[in-house]
Symmetry: C2
Subunit: 241 residues, 2 copies
């Protein structure tokens, strides 16, 4: 059986917010980068499956942030895959700063056929998975399934050049930025930790318009981001401690 | 006399656009990061002058981009200061990818007293500058002084959490993203190089609203970004080859 693999990063100026701490979006970015790098290193990255017109799609994510590391810190991102079935594989993350755990995450991925836009049966990758799986439980509860909400719209704008990735779809990180931009800034400045659950449902393309909104009850904020033609793109629930 | 100093970076996924090449904003980001790191290494970084409540402010920038490096390339960013007077210092950049020059830049900086918001006479730093200056001409023409234009407004939105730096001012890179978001996407995809001149005039704060617009004539685009109370924040001229 395989072992947990760790990657080191330095928190650069472009990863911090006005408090000089890594933003939640940056912390999630480290996780998603490491997911890509680790899958590549172990032979099942995007480049290994794109010959068959397959790609990886993030379907759900849960992240708990206990403390946001300061600019110039060197952080350690540990990752491992511990579950896989025909439709989904689970990759986990533990992030630490000077040995102190500051964030943890659980991500669920599916494999998509880019031509048919259908989900691919991952039994195809059984050999790879059996080689890379680690017998270690996920560090936090799995991502929740989030129900529709009736949010108050706070933002509407066309998808822009700086939003899109090589598929011309809006980058995952942008959704997270849009959510955090909706919070009162004092809440972000003074937060004592949070849990984020996100469901990624459909992709927004260049040419479409993003419409974002939320409902808040106490410390719990539920976001829904759609297109202007009511295609639901993603839902999230962010709970502050 | 000092010598040109070089820094190496790897083009990470978050630095590329949908063409998988480093975006113009990312290329400028490498220059600005290196400006900060090199000034720190040589004893005149932000942290060395902030004890006196001084800070560095970028006033003008000229960048020529000949080719945008691909994701995962390792690039070399060479930098040197070659001019300084009471009001402004000039820092230059040459960026290469596998030995091939792909971009060059000239930046002009002033020192600001954060309390009085007045420009500080840089004669204070004469000794430091005499030690670090390099006798090498700037690689491209100095940044132009840009005149007011009467642009057609294309975008208006409040300053958001994800826009601001530790001074709660809009980050320089965001202005560049806003400009590039206004271009037809095919122009970005098929560009054969460009020259960018930017004048930074005032800072937008959290709570203010950004209003951006441009006028285009042939391959030349002139942008003006203001607040909704008509404070001019920055002007730029972007000329595609």
């Amino acid at each position: 059986m395989a072992e947990i693999t760790s990657y080191q990063y330095r928190i650069d100026p472009q990863q911090v917010d006005f408090t000089l701490r890594a933003s939640a979006a940056s912390i999630i970015n480290y996780m998603l980068n490491v997911a890509g790098v680790d899958a590549s290193n172990k032979g099942f990255g995007v480049e290994a499956i794109q010959g068959q017109s397959f790609t990886w799609v993030l379907s759900r994510l849960a992240v708990e942030i206990y403390k946001q590391p300061m600019q110039h810190s060197t952080i350690d991102v540990a990752t491992w895959v511990n579950e896989f079935n025909r439709l989904s594989s689970t990759r986990n993350f533990r992030l630490s700063d000077g040995g102190e755990l500051f964030a943890a995450g659980v991500s669920q991925w599916c494999m998509l056929n880019m031509e048919s836009r259908q989900v691919v049966d991952m039994s195809l990758l059984r050999d790879v998975y059996e080689r890379v799986m680690v017998a270690e439980a996920s560090p936090i509860a799995a991502p929740q399934r989030l129900r529709p909400t009736e949010p108050t719209v706070t933002m509407s704008r066309p998808v822009a050049y700086s939003d899109i990735d090589f598929n011309r779809h809006v980058n995952t990180l942008r959704y997270i930025e849009l959510m955090f931009d909706a919070f009162p800034i004092d809440l972000i400045e003074q937060n004592n930790g949070m849990r984020i659950d996100i469901n990624f449902i459909a992709e927004a393309r260049y040419g479409e318009t993003l419409v974002a909104g939320y409902i808040a009850e106490g410390n719990v904020w539920q976001f829904e981001i759609k297109t202007d033609s009511d295609k639901v793109l993603c839902r999230s629930k962010i709970e502050f401690k």
